[in-house]
Amino acid sequence: MTAAVGSRPVKGSTSPLSSAQTRFGEGLLEKLFFFCALLSVLTTVSVIGILAFETYNFFQKVPMLDFLTGTRWTPLLEPKHYGILPLISGTVLIVLGAALVALPVGVASAVYLSEYASERTRNIIKPVLEILAGIPTVVYGFFALTFVTPLLSTIFPSISVFNAASGSIVVGIMVLPMVASLCDDALRSVPDALRQGAYSLGATSFEVSTRIVIPAGLSGIFASFVLAISRAIGETMAVTLAAGATPNLTMNPLESIQTMTAYIVQVSLGDTPSGTITYETLFAVAAVLFASTFVLNLGGTWIMRRYQEVYE
């Protein structure tokens, strides 16, 4: 800060400066701004409060143990069962498939971007990834239904029209840009001196990438995985459109399943009055969804901070 301060008296500044003098409204403005910032805390508090309240009501009617360990989820059909495991297995199936697509491809793209690509290619690929990330999820749902599913059915003729495989592939494509970009950040923050040291010892670029750069950026890569998984859990429209609405305790990706998010959408498409047990299931399922993404997000950012290698 080299700006010259007070070398010349300011014209007309005759009034003595006094700390007691504040312009009218300054304090009021600060309070207003504070309230705006507080609104975000209020949002979190109301999300947790509402989920807890309605879930508590739900547990008055359905024992918590039945909810968490039941293997049948049929809240809209008689006889009604409220075991969330089929929805969880559906979600896990989608997440596993998406991880299988997004994590290896994401890391490989990041290696390409940070180790091999020229500045020009980077400037083309990066915006393309940003566009992929910005495409609305309902569009991915359309893509899954009209492109991926027909493609899969030529390979697996026994596949259902709605199936977990198609849903998880597009969810993988959706979270891919996030993995690639976070991993790219992690790899690029590895100092060049480490690479040059390895190259000067005669290592090939494969060895430099897999034994020096990736291990050095591992915390960022792990964090990106965790955040991607959290995103995949919360993904809604693509799985609603492509994976179906059949709560199904299966690990077969060719079958129709239902995720937690797809169930919430299915119920909301109808008109559900407050106070009914169906209305409360929305909140109970959303509570499980919120809790799992919340833990993963906290974990992801924690890994990023805690294990970040700090280079001079």
Binding site: P127, V138, V139, F142, F143, G234
Partner: protein, 291 residues
């Protein structure tokens, strides 16, 4: 030291270099696969939907008969939604960012607010839908109005706006602030006349990206009960509405092929709007960086 057989070394070297080339090609191929997917997606949508794009499609209400169906109510609904969301989320988001960057004391509560905002950015959109359903639709009695939708969307995009605005404000050099303080400006004058003007390009970029997210979101709107078949346009913030992604979802979910083509037509319009907004954001960023 053991003697090294040069033949073995050169043999190994050839293998190592071969592996390295393979790895490079693999990484390159996989990256361009992602680009190819974007190409296939756009191609697929264009082929299916382009034939439906005409003036009639843009100005007609949805219909049971595909040849008469259009996206008029959805387009107007989206416009209502974005306008209301923008007028709620931008002021609150930017003011919150100003507080956190310019006013907030460095204490644990401020740190807590910051962590909380980062976490909110990662909450699934459908959870915001649940919040909107419980608070705005049921508790505040706004029913399935476009206002309830906009309030839900505002909460959803607020973290994005706050984070972008904070970054833009932080990028303003502190010498600017100190110079203004030195000549006796109050904190608000410093913010109003110096910090905000230089941070505006960055804030705008973030705001546009946040709003384009609001345009594409579907799940929260379904949660708060935006209608899937609407043959009227909202005339006030308390009217019922539909939106472009909802209409696309509705058409995609039908079994008939023709409705899928209509959905593709809607997707082309949606993507065109988003592309336009993104291009604007890139342009503003570019102009901002040139100064």
């Amino acid at each position: 030291m053991n003697k090294v057989n040069p033949l073995i070394v050169s043999d190994q070297l050839a293998r190592r270099q071969w592996l390295s080339r393979l790895f490079k090609h693999f990484c390159t191929g996989v990256t361009f696969l992602a680009v190819a997917i974007l190409g296939v997606l756009i191609f697929q949508v264009s082929v299916a939907g382009f034939g439906w794009l005409d003036w009639q499609f843009l100005t007609s209400f949805p219909s049971r008969f595909p040849e008469r169906a259009g996206i008029y109510s959805a387009l107007v609904g989206t416009l209502w939604l974005v306008t209301l969301t923008a007028s709620l989320a931008i002021p609150i988001g930017v003011l919150a960012a100003i507080y956190l960057e310019e006013y907030a004391p460095k204490n644990r509560f401020t740190a807590f607010i910051e962590v909380n905002i980062a976490n909110l950015a990662g909450v699934p959109s459908i959870v915001y839908g649940i919040l909107g359903l419980a608070v705005f639709v049921r508790f505040m009695g706004l029913e399935r109005s476009v206002l309830a939708g906009a309030m839900t969307m505002s909460l959803l995009v607020m973290p994005v706006i706050i984070i972008a605005a904070k970054e833009a404000i932080r990028a303003v050099p502190s010498s600017l602030r100190q110079a203004a303080f030195a000549v006796g400006a109050t904190r608000w004058q410093v913010v109003r006349h110096h910090v905000l003007p230089s941070a505006i390009p960055g804030i705008l970029t973030g705001v546009i990206l946040a709003l384009s997210r609001a345009i594409g979101e579907t799940a929260p709107l379904i949660m708060i009960g935006a209608l899937t078949y609407v043959a009227f346009v909202p005339e006030g913030p308390l009217d019922e509405f539909t939106a472009l992604p909802i209409q696309i979802f509705n058409w995609t979910a039908r079994p008939q092929e023709t409705f899928h083509e209509l959905a593709a037509g809607g997707i082309i319009v949606l993507l065109a709007i988003l592309l336009l907004m993104n291009a604007t954001a890139v342009y503003i960023r570019y102009r901002g960086s040139k100064r």
